[in-house]
Amino acid sequence: MAQFTTEVFQNEFLPDGGTDVHAIVRVTCSGAGETRMGGGGEAAEILIVDTSGSMGANGIAQGRYAATVALNEITDGTWFAVIAGNHVGTLVYPGYGMTQMVRMDARTRQEAAAAVQMFRADGGTAMGTWLTKAKEVFLSVPQVIQRHAILLTDGTNEHETPDQLTWAIQGATGFFQCDVRGLGDRWQIDEARRIASALLGTVDLIPSPERMADEFEKLIRASMARGVASVDVRVWAPQGAQVLFVKQVAPNLEDITAKRSQVNPLTAAFPTGAWADETRDYHVAVRLPAKSIGQEQLASRVQIVVRDEVQTQALVKATWSNDDSLTTRIDDQVARYTGQAELAAAIQDGLAAKAAGDDAGATRKLGRAVQIATATGDEEMTSRLKKVVEIDDAEAGTVRLRKSVEKLDEMALDTASTKTRRIKK
């Protein structure tokens, strides 16, 4: 049985009249093990591979190869299926016309590997229909409690309306998790991010078809390692208090505040999907009614809940003090993640402004990003930013937009912006 532990990083001391408590809650899961094999057959995996015309011969060839590699990583006993996506979603395996998933074993693996050889580059892109098809296929094995899909796309969602995609995402939300990967530079990060955020997955860029197999292997391995399905973070705040936000801040940035569902009047639950043996950090901010100097109270109980059972909890505290040396300090972890969140926002806003032709806004935002990355010593992000802007004064954040920018560099900067780095205590 998996074990969860928590650690809290915060400065609990608030000045006279202070109301906002910030804490980083580090949650570590151990003993998650591999996805259960056989028995109840509780896990299901679907590969969704873009087979639109834009994939071309090389893209399709690499897609076939990557799917085969992925099939090899799916643990025996796991329910699985393969969907080929263009302007419609087609179940390639277990077979055309069928909707029942099958368990992985030597025979089905071989059949599936043969089936993916049938991928043909043809048609358009309608990711909503792929998601809807995946949901339909998942529903064929209702006993499954842990559902995961990989969605690979190489283009924009041009064969359905934005609303259609939204409806499809809504239909899948809370039902299965989905990691989204974009191949090349013609897909839309915003679209992919919308899908992945809602479906508790990640977004990343695969710069060239040759890299697909590695990425698929990594994603399936990660998915197979997730032995704990549907973990919720529950946040209790006292009467009269307000939960300002709940963000996952590591390993990647994801504001989950809007995913809240009320458990009781003082407690809200936020879904975090399935967990492997891993550590995730959450930034919880609570606004309290101010109390008098010397008073101490609990600002929040942050609980890890699996199927309505509380596994562990962390206590976030508040103590009002008139000692400036205590109240003015910002916890290192809180400061670092606050900076990383601001950096990500500056990069995304800057690139969005640039795409919209707002060069002044883009220059300002990206300049701010350079400034933060420099101040926090984030060399990786600084070097990514350098490919998009010329830096005149890093500390002041004075930059000029580069005349010609590789689209892939820009996209890599965008997708990397939400990856955070954990710092040591």
Binding site: F9, N11, Q239, L266, Q297, L298, A299, T312, N322, R329
Partner: protein, 500 residues
């Protein structure tokens, strides 16, 4: 909504229901934490070695999730340092301790219950037994140690002993942890207890001459200082820490009617005789910047309210000065009165011995028939200091010479914080003590109201207090809001002290 940590759909855990592994209380099937002691049913039992008072170091809180355990020590052996200390347990008298989950009712909001040391509705902290405790080892000896109103930690400590026969033997020790040092709340309690242990041994009676006995006890007090300092040193987490734990020391040993007191730092001992014709006096000598200035001629009022008034010149700790010989004084307890040891949390509001005697006399009178019950009087004096602002931790330890009285019926000698009635208006849980409701003055109404910050006796017994009832005595500092001065070298400045 009594249990946000509860598990709505947790039918699975029902099989494991029965008793709490920590305290044995009944365990409801859907509870994640024990209603009685807060034990986390999902966690292993903590080992006693890891159990200790929670300490917050600096601002970077490493939250310890040690669940509170019910203490099981017999009366007299229990310790506020024990995690989950819930007050004395009467031997074999479980019915006297309210078995209903009165402890689960939050003293702040009155609606929630304590789950894990905090209210499940308003988040208020469950009172820490270290924050307020009383000792009453004998009918004539008792004291109260209280966090006050403004500090987040009680760094004062107290350790008492008393023989059943009055004046045969008593030990009173008060230590005040220096508030800008690390973990001084642990250090001060360790120091007080170490000193009590040294002072506990019977005094040899062979030599007969009173001066020789005084000499033996004086030396014993010196040994107690050394032991107390050693105890502080042993709590020092890191010998290279820039602010190692430290505390003051004042102790009294009473032996067959002879009292000898000794002190290092600015915690005090007073002799307060009942008879108005007898002279009350401060027995201790402060090791403080203020005292040095007074020795140089500065008026007490100016010295004790000056910028460095609370800077002490000697203390117990790994960084203490070489000479820790206590200031000592002795007297024969031949007339009725009170021997009082207190921290500056009390004398901040009433420093002068004459005024203090008056305060005690009025407080005794105000307590009706129970004023001569030492812990009841000590609590009332703590309430007095809290009512004046409670800027610092407050400790009052008393030995009564003369007639004593029993406790008031509503309040036991030790008021268990968790059992206190809800009082939403109380800023501090200790203020909800029922004793607090008892007026501290039997004098004319308005006498105490006229001087909110410092004690004004209701009657003119000395020229200095001969003030009209409608206005505070000119020497007094009303100081309406006790704003602590961050510039104070050691502890928060008092908001006013009485005249000399």
């Amino acid at each position: 909504m009594s249990s946000p940590a509860g598990t709505p759909g947790a039918g699975a855990s029902a099989a494991a229901s029965a008793a709490c592994p920590a305290c044995g209380a009944e365990r409801p099937p859907d509870a994640a934490f024990c209603e009685q002691c807060g034990h986390d049913f999902g966690a292993a039992l903590p080992t006693p070695a890891t159990a200790g008072p929670t300490a917050t170091r600096n601002g970077e809180t490493q939250t310890r999730h040690a669940p509170v355990r019910a203490q099981t020590a017999d009366e007299g052996l229990e310790s506020p340092l024990d995690l989950g200390w819930t007050g004395p347990v009467s031997r074999g008298a479980a019915t006297e301790v309210d078995p209903a989950p009165a402890a689960a009712r939050c003293a702040q909001c009155g609606t929630g219950g304590y789950l894990d040391g905090y209210c499940d509705t308003c988040g208020a902290k469950q009172p820490d037994p270290r924050d307020h405790f009383a000792e009453s080892p004998a009918a004539w000896v008792g004291g109260v140690c209280d966090i006050g109103r403004r500090h987040s930690r009680n760094e004062d400590a107290m350790a008492l002993l008393g023989s059943t026969r009055p004046l045969q033997q008593a030990v009173l020790v008060v230590c005040d942890g220096v508030s800008n040092t690390t973990d001084s709340h642990i250090a001060s309690l360790a120091a007080a207890r170490a000193a009590r242990e040294v002072l506990d041994d019977p005094v040899p009676r062979g030599m007969g001459l009173p001066d020789a006995v005084v000499g033996v006890i004086t030396k014993r007090l010196g040994d107690a200082v050394v032991a107390a300092r050693q105890a502080v040193v042993e709590t020092t987490p890191d010998v290279n820490a820039p602010t190692p734990p430290s505390c003051t020391f004042v102790a009294a040993l009473i032996d067959e009617g002879l009292a000898v007191v000794g002190n290092v730092g600015d915690s005090r001992a007073y002799w307060l005789p009942d008879a108005p014709t007898s002279e009350p006096r401060q027995l201790s000598a402060d090791d403080s910047f203020a005292a040095e200035q007074m020795r140089e001629g500065m008026p007490r009022k100016d010295a004790e309210t000056g910028p460095n008034a609370h800077a002490i010149t000697r203390w117990l700790g790994i960084d203490s000065p070489d000479d820790l010989t206590p200031h000592t004084a002795s007297l024969q307890l031949t007339e009725d009165g009170w021997l009082m040891l207190c921290s500056d949390g009390l004398w901040n509001y009433c420093s002068d011995a004459v005024a203090l005697r008056q305060l005690v006399a009025d407080t005794v009178a105000g307590l009706g028939g129970h004023g001569l019950h030492p812990p009841t009087l000590a609590q009332a004096l703590v309430d007095f200091a809290n009512a004046r602002g409670g800027v610092d931790n407050i400790t009052v330890a008393l030995a009564r010479v003369g007639a004593t009285a029993g406790p008031p019926p509503v309040a036991s000698a030790v008021v268990e914080p968790a059992a206190m009635p809800a009082n939403p208006t109380a800023a501090n849980p200790t203020a909800a003590n029922p004793i607090a409701a008892i007026p501290t003055s039997a004098g004319p109404p308005g006498a105490t109201e006229a001087s909110p910050a410092a004690y004004a006796p209701p009657q003119a017994t000395t020229p200095a207090t001969d003030a009209p009832e409608t206005a505070p005595a000119p020497e007094l500092h009303p100081a309406p809001d006790p704003a602590p001065s961050p510039a104070a070298d050691r502890e928060d400045s008092p908001d006013g002290t009485v005249h000399d």
